[in-house]
Symmetry: C2
Subunit: 339 residues, 2 copies
């Protein structure tokens, strides 16, 4: 016996012979409604099992209490962790989370952004696809006063709000660690050149070497597309050098693991003939017999939380003057697996 028509504010009004505005105000505990009326309304509402139609409210209020999150792959621990942080923060303020995976595809990223804009999300949190160069689909959002916060994979321009891993700090730690272990020829496997982190990593690398008065050899810096094949190619070029590196800094643990496999296929034993340090500190490292020597924890949840906080403050912020774009750096921590 289904009750096809859901109870509305109108229905309550009719049954009590009062106006809808009174019902609305009564349900919101508005001061100009008499106590007697209020309780009559609230009782009937409960009795009928009334629940406000959020789509109507969203429409009327011109806000949806929903924020969009766009990221490359949900399945990567880093991003899943970031989402948890985001969800926790926004839920505390009654916001919901709409998710879109770009699969590292720029076109998909654009499509998701458009859909979210039309759905009238109140704000968007983004981690860029690995090949996003053109940011037009984000600047377009300014026209709609739609706040955006980037995290982890952030654009270079600092006209945007962003939260990211403190690459100089982390990379400095990593390279210093390797140098303390005696390494002088340290290779790098970066991501694609479009990624801001690739440049940052290289820059810090050069700074550290310069400080130590070591000569810089840019042939030690390789780029890869983050796939297993790309990693193998990068390894191939690095190992083919006249003076190959004795240690390698890899963009993340996944790449490091692929690189280690490649090295093994060339009869180079990890943590003996060659050494790796990478970023992410995946939980699985604990189970590896032969993990990267060290990995830098990037605190994904903290990044997500911070991004969500900034977004919420932008959403809440009234007034014509926009808040200054924030550029938050989350310091990582070098976790040593092999001493």
């Amino acid at each position: 016996m289904k009750n096809k028509k859901l109870p509305t504010i109108k229905e309550i009004a009719k049954q009590l012979n009062i106006s809808v505005s009174t019902v609305s105000r009564a349900l919101h505990d508005h001061p100009s409604i008499g106590l007697r009326t209020k309780s009559r309304v609230q009782e009937l509402a409960k009795e009928l099992g009334y629940e406000p139609n959020q789509t109507a409210i969203f429409f009327k209020q011109r806000r949806t209490f929903t924020i969009g999150v766009v990221l490359p792959y949900l399945i990567e621990d880093f991003f899943a962790g970031a989402i948890s942080g985001i969800e926790e923060v926004v839920n505390a303020s009654k916001y919901n989370v709409l998710i879109g995976q770009s699969n590292d595809d720029v076109e998909r990223e654009k499509a998701i952004i458009t859909a979210m804009k039309n759905q009238r999300v109140d704000g968007i949190i983004v981690s860029l696809s690995k090949h996003t160069k053109n940011l037009d689909h984000f600047t377009a959002l300014e026209r709609y006063d739609l706040p955006v916060v980037f995290f982890d994979r952030v654009p270079a321009s600092n006209t945007y709000n962003k939260v990211a891993f403190d690459m100089p700090h982390g990379t400095h730690q990593a390279i210093s660690f390797l140098m303390e272990k005696g390494h002088r020829r340290i290779g790098i496997i970066n991501g694609p050149k479009e990624m801001k982190s690739s440049k940052e990593r290289t820059d810090t690398y050069m700074q550290v070497l310069q400080k130590k008065r070591l000569k810089i050899d840019l042939s030690l810096v390789a780029y890869c597309d983050l796939t297993k094949e790309g990693t193998s190619l990068a390894m191939e070029t690095l190992l083919a050098l006249k003076h190959p590196p004795t240690a390698i800094l890899a963009i993340n643990d996944y790449v490091a693991l692929d690189a280690i496999q490649y090295a093994k296929s060339k009869n180079l034993i990890n943590n003996k003939d060659i050494f790796f340090v990478s970023y992410a500190n995946l939980p699985i490292s604990k189970y590896l017999e032969n993990p990267p020597m060290a990995s830098i924890e990037q605190y994904p949840k903290k990044q997500g939380e911070k991004a969500a906080e900034i977004l919420l403050s932008m959403i809440t912020h009234e007034g014509p003057d926009p808040l200054e774009p924030q550029n938050i750096l989350i310091p990582g921590e070098l976790v040593v697996h092999i001493r």
Copy 2:
């Protein structure tokens, strides 16, 4: 120079001196609108950068093209994979995905369901929190004609639509595999006794042994709380048996890895002194020197896809007679790592 007011259908109508209904129909390529008018409307729409206000449409159409997904933890590979499957399927039909993590907390699960219902999602996909016994918050949804599909952690009752791993089939494979390898004393590390899968696993185990006319020794069946400590305890009891198992079937790869670590601490070498088979087939297994001998792939993405397909068909399905509740079992596949 911000264009605060977004262009609406009304605006277009005013500028062209025609009615809003004509504009609406023109934008939808309605046959009763003249060619000339159509193109005038469409051109102006493009020029103004008109985008339909989805909140208004949602409200008017009484559907949101959004489906809700409720699951325990996004960070678990299995669930992240399932989401990807869900997203892929529903996106192809222009649906969006609203996510809620229950964190295995029943109250949170209820709150999420209520919020999603009020948001008027068109349907919900759920993987139950591990402590959910009472299903009232789901039966309540029938009143709203809100279709629900469960996956992975499904209720026992078959009045619901559900998609789950085929436990008997998978477990049969696993045990047969171990027996072919010559093992006769096979231990089990289950999850908590409350989990439906624990019982299913044990049942199948007994059936297989019975078929092979082997005597059943229930002291070989251990339970754990899925933590590292719980796993160690389970291992301790199993190894302390008078006739300890030569192989162990573990509820999932994480538990297997903890168990392997424990065994190692007792100087039992994995894949030599003792053997493991587990469920999940985590991608990281490829990088392990010493993985479980085999693991059962549960195809999370396929489970997600199937659940999404069923949900979409329910959403699309018109008519008073509801579709028969489906109970889909997704067969797993034993992936052998060590031969």
